[in-house]
């Protein structure tokens, strides 16, 4: 059985373990004990409301309760750009027409913006490679939406995720080569690293402030704009199925897309419903014929999410096994929140 819960200080060893498996490319989970300890500390403070709401960073752990060990993490940053400056490029369109010459030309143009300032970011999704079953990744990602909606006063109405952009085997980003490279006098990985550890003032100092006409960056860089790294495609597909859309914002270094959604359009939130918990010794379930549902205890500091199958859901109640109820810290009669783990709607013809 797996359960989502807030991360705890004791999880540090398991987290370090996972970070060392993550390898390069996942800059948000560096195998650095001090840094990870700090991340856990901020999360613990956030779940106990010991730091200002707009600086909260929530870290969710996926625990395999059978072995008593965490096998994945995911995070929410309550509000980005509150202490530092949050940068994106916006791919905007400049249209120039001349009737006299019968020209109508669209030029994609990059504007440096801080438009995500104050929005909520979901990030740092990592699942132990040994546990990459069908449901674990979905649960790790989507449990966050259950949390966001039940505590929506703590989050922005716009939620976003940044997706890793295109780079080659050597980590060379064509977008960086065509743009950042000319202004930063350092290489992409160093810029990425500095940003990762929160040292971002060099961006204000060195980044070009005027709009950039995209065609001037050449074909290879243009092709990379708003495109994800091959390994990131499944993550993108999952977010898109939840209602996230690419809406023109990209990473200033590698040109990778930012996908965004208004919280009221998130599939998990829209389709969720409440039921009273009805605790039974044992729930008989036919996994093959019934879809999986997330079930959350709606708590803030003791937030828990588990998985059940749809046949346990009745019109007013939901049957939970005694074991699951205990893990969820739910008593009989408590109201829990449910959502199908996957969108049950078929694509219409």
């Amino acid at each position: 059985m797996v359960i989502i819960r807030p991360i705890e200080p004791e999880d540090i060893e398991a987290l370090l373990d996972m970070a060392s498996k993550a390898g390069v490319g996942v800059t948000t989970l560096p195998p650095n004990r001090a840094l990870l300890e700090a991340k856990i500390r901020v999360s613990v403070q956030s779940f106990s409301q010991q730091i200002p709401e707009d600086q909260a960073q929530y870290l969710f752990a996926l625990e395999d309760v059978d072995v008593g060990r965490i096998i994945g993490v995911s995070a929410i940053l309550a509000r980005v750009g509150q202490q530092d400056v949050w940068y994106n490029y916006r791919v905007s369109t400049t249209v120039s027409t001349s009737r006299e010459l019968d020209i109508h030309k669209c030029t994609p143009t990059l504007y440096l913006t801080n438009d995500m300032t104050g929005s909520t970011e979901i990030c740092t999704l990592f699942l132990d490679p040994d546990y990459r079953h069908r449901n674990n990744g979905q649960l790790l990602s989507k449990c966050r939406f259950m949390f966001i909606d039940d505590h929506s006063n703590l989050f922005a109405s716009k939620i976003f995720a940044e997706m890793r952009g295109v780079s080659d085997d050597q980590g060379r980003s064509p977008f960086w080569q065509a743009l950042g490279h000319h202004f930063f006098s350092i290489d992409f990985s160093e810029a990425d690293y500095l940003t990762g550890i929160g040292q971002k003032s060099f961006i204000a100092e060195l980044m070009p402030k005027y709009p950039i006409y995209l065609p001037m960056l050449g074909a290879e860089a243009q092709a990379a704009v708003g495109k994800v790294h091959q390994q990131t495609r499944p993550a993108l597909a999952m977010l898109e199925s939840e209602g996230f859309n690419f809406n023109g914002l990209i990473d200033i270094f590698d040109g990778g897309p930012l996908v965004e959604v208004f919280v009221n359009s998130i599939r998990t939130i829209r389709d969720s419903f409440n039921r009273q918990a009805f605790i039974v010794k044992h729930v008989d379930t036919d996994v093959r014929n019934s879809a999986f549902y997330m079930v959350s205890n709606r708590s803030f500091s003791c937030f828990r999410v588990g998985l059940i199958t749809g046949d346990a859901i009745k019109s007013d109640t939901v049957s939970l096994s005694a074991e699951l109820a205990e893990r969820l810290r739910v008593n009989s009669g408590d109201v829990v929140r449910l959502t199908a783990l996957r969108d049950p709607r078929q694509r219409r013809n």
Partner: protein
């Protein structure tokens, strides 16, 4: 005998022939016969100070060779050069240039200090006096002819200083490759105009400049994002233009911060007051006579509409009078007792 005078309608054929022989880019001079005729008409009205041309005067001068007495074989005067002045650059519409500037991007943390050259689109030169449409027949492209045509324009400006702007500018052709491609255009304008450099250039000669306002990207351009080839030619003059540049520098012009928006060629500038400081003109009364000997001067009559300018040799003294042969004076349209304006003539260019 060589003479600089306002262009007439009857010169149209000769100018067309000249243009055909010229390889230079002359964005101010269309090759279309009808538009060219219109252009000459504008010049005539400008010399006549027609009120409708106020603020949009575009003057065209021709350099004419007349065989004179000593050469009876060829008796009709021949147009061998052309030069123009737009009194107000832009002629009532915005005149576009890029202005070269630099921004400093510095980070103490990273120990980086970059000077980033930037091009700003500007209309700053609008309303300056623009030298344009300079052209010499290749068979007659001697240093004397070049200097005569160039300096007579400047003498005209000096003479009618109050009719011109405080700054005189001249756009110099930029670098192009052998197949008439412009590296600057290919890296910048081509992205926005959806046409070749040659097309854009000819549109700019034939049509109103509205299409530039409509298509030119308004935001500043970071030079490091241009191709290396384009960066290399910014504010660099075409080889063929060197000889004119040397002439202009001698007269007080220097390279300014502006460049052409299409080919990146430099703009040379000169405060109008410096023209007279560099080469101050004198005005004296003409008496017929003399021996056509002595120092060579560039001499012009004092008529705006019937401007005539030629090279004349005479000895200048301390008095208020100079002596010029009657035939020469006739060519200049000057009678005994009339005033002329003159400067010492230096041949120039190669």
């Amino acid at each position: 005998m060589l003479l600089v005078r306002p262009c007439h309608s009857s010169d149209l054929e000769a100018i067309t022939a000249l243009l055909e022989r010229s390889g230079l880019r002359l964005s101010t001079l269309p090759r279309d016969p009808e538009l060219l005729a219109e252009r000459v008409q504008v010049s005539l009205e400008s010399f006549a100070q027609s009120p409708s041309r106020q603020g949009k005067e575009r003057l065209l001068f021709v350099l004419e060779y007349s065989p004179g007495n000593s050469d009876s074989d060829r008796d009709t005067p021949q147009v061998i050069g052309l030069a123009g002045i737009d009194v107000c650059a832009g002629n009532g519409a915005p005149f576009y240039s890029y202005r070269r500037d630099e921004l400093i991007h510095a980070s103490h943390t990273l120990n980086v200090h970059n000077r980033i050259p930037v091009l700003y689109l500007t209309h700053e030169l609008t309303g300056s006096t623009l030298l344009c449409s300079f052209m010499l027949h290749p068979d007659w492209a001697t240093s004397d002819h070049r200097a005569l045509l160039m300096c007579s324009r400047l003498l005209f400006i000096q003479q009618y200083r109050h009719r011109f702007a405080d700054t005189v500018i001249s756009e110099i052709q930029g670098v192009s490759t052998e197949d008439a491609q412009s590296p600057f255009w290919d890296s910048l304008g081509a992205h926005f105009f959806a046409m070749s450099f040659a097309e854009a250039d000819s549109h700019s000669a034939y049509r109103s400049k509205t299409f530039i306002a409509e298509l030119m990207p308004p935001h500043p351009i970071y030079v490091p994002l241009l191709t290396p080839a384009a960066q290399r030619v910014i504010a660099v003059a075409h080889d063929q233009a060197q000889v004119n540049i040397e002439l202009m520098e001698r007269e007080g012009f220097s390279k300014g911060p502006h460049i052409d928006i299409f080919d990146g060629g430099p703009t040379y500038e000169c405060p109008a007051v410096r023209l007279s400081a560099t080469n101050p003109a004198r005005i004296k009364q003409v008496r017929f006579g003399g021996h056509n000997a002595g120092q060579t001067y560039l001499v012009a009559n004092t008529s705006f509409q019937e401007f005539r300018c030629a090279l004349v040799r005479f000895s200048d003294g301390l008095g208020d009078v100079i002596r010029i042969q009657e035939t020469v004076a006739g060519l200049l349209g000057v009678k005994d007792g009339d005033a002329v304006i003159y400067v010492p003539f230096k041949s120039g260019g190669r």
